[in-house]
């Protein structure tokens, strides 16, 4: 008896090992595909990478030397191998505008985007999940209709336009929130010099430093973009929660629980919710990834110095290494989030193990 359980445990370990190996192989192939794509985009771009480094007035010798140094005389496959090797070591090339390594620049811009997207997702989950549950428990009711229509609006609204309208109403007309940017300009310098930056996320850093005046100011700036983005992700989350919850509430174990006389809130929030959580994790991860991507549009509106602003500004300066580096980073985060949600899925759902 002990023998068989031992061997079954062994085979389970083996199965998990195989699964992890396939998962990692998939991840590697996907990342390689991402790099191939940005590599190809970088090669067909009509901007001559050599010329943008040496300048228009360089001699032929200087031009050839720079070309050699960039490895542009090598065959394509070899160039790609070098590109992949560099990327694996965290070298995504140098920005043409500043001459700084792209990855270092991105590391400086990324926390602002992360902070915004995280806060927005928190809003989206806190409102979206209860709204979806409410709609699912009273299908056809007024609450259900309201949630459905609010969701459809969130699906259909151009997020950059929503941002402009939000600025117009809450900042321009009502004056309830801080305007564009992460801080008032008066606080901007103070933040650079007087606050130890642990994370690059203003809310966390100011709180850790005990600068609550600055925290309040930063909050007044982030609340509008985070709220609007949160609304968009709320639309998606509430809709998916509703359909998952409807599906669960039709199951037989729910009927059993009700027949036993269990209070309805317990049936919904404890029994059904546990099973709804499983697919919901994927939905939340997806909406988070979507917010990171959408930052390209929203950050322009709110003058938010994040990854999205970095990519768009680089785009207009024809700084291709920066654009492609940003694309690689966002893509990699995308892939990582997908994979993370897969793993969480297995942790929460024993059937998927």
């Amino acid at each position: 008896m002990a023998d068989t359980s031992h061997s079954s445990a062994q085979s389970r370990v083996a199965a998990i090992a195989i699964r992890i190996a396939t998962e990692l192989a998939t991840l590697a192939v996907t990342l390689l595909g991402l790099l191939l794509m940005t590599f190809l985009i970088g090669r067909v771009v009509p901007i001559d990478p050599v010329l943008s480094i040496v300048g228009e007035r360089a001699t032929t010798e200087q031009y050839d030397a720079a070309r050699l140094k960039l490895g542009l005389d090598e065959p394509m496959w070899k160039q790609f191998a070098i590109y992949v090797g560099d990327a694996a070591q965290g070298d995504l090339g140098q920005s043409i505008r500043t001459g700084e390594p792209v990855l270092e620049e991105i590391a400086r811009y990324f926390p602002a985007t992360l902070e915004l997207a995280t806060l927005a997702t928190i809003f989206g989950v806190l409102v979206g999940v209860p709204a979806g549950v409410l709609a699912a428990t009273r299908p056809g009711s007024l609450a259900d209709q309201v949630v459905r229509i609010l969701g459809l609006i969130g699906y259909s609204i151009p997020v950059f336009w929503l941002g402009l309208i939000g600025l117009l109403v809450f900042y321009g007309m009502l004056g309830w929130v801080g305007g564009p940017g992460r801080l008032d300009s008066g606080f901007q310098m103070l933040f650079e010099f007087e606050v130890t930056q642990y994370t690059g996320m203003i809310l966390i850093d100011t709180a850790l430093n005990g600068r609550w005046d600055m925290f309040a100011n930063a909050f007044s700036h982030i609340v509008l973009p985070a709220g609007l983005l949160g609304y968009v992700s709320m639309a998606y989350i509430s809709r998916m929660t509703r359909s998952f919850m409807m599906n669960e509430l039709g199951q037989e174990y729910i009927t059993t629980a009700r027949v036993k006389g269990m209070p309805e809130w317990r049936v919904v929030w404890i029994h059904a919710m546990r099973n709804v959580l499983v697919p919901l994790i994927t939905v939340i991860a997806l909406s988070y990834a979507f917010l990171l991507e959408g930052s390209v549009l929203t950050e322009t509106i709110f003058a938010w110095p994040g990854l999205g602003s970095y990519i768009t500004n680089a785009l207009f300066a024809a700084d291709m290494p920066a654009v492609l580096g940003g694309t690689v980073v966002v893509g990699a985060v995308f892939v990582a989030l997908n994979m993370l949600s897969d793993i969480l899925y297995r942790v929460v759902d024993p059937r998927a193990r």
Binding site: L34, P158, V323
Partner: protein, 301 residues
């Protein structure tokens, strides 16, 4: 009229055409009972009509500048929705812009599903290595952030309406490939495909003539649901200045040109944004309704 209705709802149709039209009729009856879907259909229909008759409907030339009449507020006589910073009539520009939106949506709706169907049916029909490789590529594309990829592509190709369409189509095909593959797998081993094969039909003929038609309904629903997203991405590219170029009245571009005047002349940005919102809402409503009609499993109870 009554005879037609009886003919359409005949439980034992005498021809294939009658059966097919009867199916459409039943679907239409179901769609008609859903008020949200009907309003979606009305919005999309209105878009088609407005785009078709844009030159007649637009009260002014959408490109005609009149600097003495710049930034006039809505409800000014002669300019119902006001004028922009060059004194151009906003209503006329929105009406004319519907053509650009429809053009982009139409092109993407043709190219992306075509590519997706091709990849999906081939992968599903052949299976094995072909399937593994093609679906791996599809997954890689699916793993990409769509907007950023479109952005990088437009950066390479240069801004412009055709390049924007191409960039959006390149990022939009993978879901169609998934759907088409799933449908292909269900019919691949069915008897009628085997019968066609035994009659000596070649692979292209089997796929194009017999596999693709079975995939079409699910692909069409997907297209309708996707169109709202396409409109939003196209508007986003226009807003960033990477899509349609000025002075063409593209809605996203109009929003961005009104940004400078947001706090004083709010209507310049607001009106085209409303147009985008309404049209994309229309496609979402219609897509939802179509899905409920054609795929009763997902219908809300």
């Amino acid at each position: 009229m009554v005879a037609l209705r009886v003919w359409l709802s005949d439980p034992s149709p005498s021809s294939r055409g009658q059966a097919r039209l009867g199916q459409f009729w039943l679907g239409w009856l179901r769609l008609r009972r859903n008020p949200l879907a009907v309003s979606g259909l009305a919005i999309v229909g209105a878009l088609l009509v407005i785009a078709a008759f844009a030159p007649v409907l637009a009260p002014h030339d959408p490109l005609a500048q009149d600097l003495s009449r710049r930034l006039l507020p809505p409800f000014t006589p002669g300019n119902l929705l006001g004028t922009d910073d060059f004194g151009r009539d906003i209503l006329s520009r929105i009406i004319t812009g519907s053509r650009i939106t429809l053009y982009i949506v139409g092109l993407v709706a043709v190219t992306a599903p075509f590519l997706g169907l091709l990849v999906g049916t081939v992968a599903g029909y052949f299976g094995g290595w072909t399937d593994a490789v093609l679906m791996r590529i599809t997954d890689i594309f699916l793993a990409f952030p769509r907007l950023i990829l479109a952005l990088a592509l437009v950066a390479v190709l240069g801004p412009g309406i055709e390049n924007a369409v191409l960039a959006i189509a390149v990022t939009a095909w993978p879901p169609y490939a998934r759907v088409a593959r799933a449908e292909t797998l269900t019919v691949r081993n069915s008897d009628y495909i085997a019968a066609v094969r035994l009659q000596g039909a070649g692979v292209p003929r089997i796929i194009l003539g017999h596999v693709v038609p079975t995939c079409l309904p699910s692909v069409i629903i997907r297209v309708t649901l996707d169109m709202a997203g396409v409109i939003l991405i196209a508007a986003g590219l226009g807003f960033l200045g990477l899509g349609v170029q000025p002075p063409l009245p593209e809605w996203g571009l109009m929003i961005s040109s009104g940004r400078k005047y947001l706090f004083e002349q709010w209507w310049v940005s607001t009106m085209p944004g409303l147009a985008i919102f309404i049209v994309s809402l229309g496609f979402n409503l219609l897509g939802d309704g179509l899905r409920d009609v054609l795929d009763p499993k997902s219908a809300p109870k």
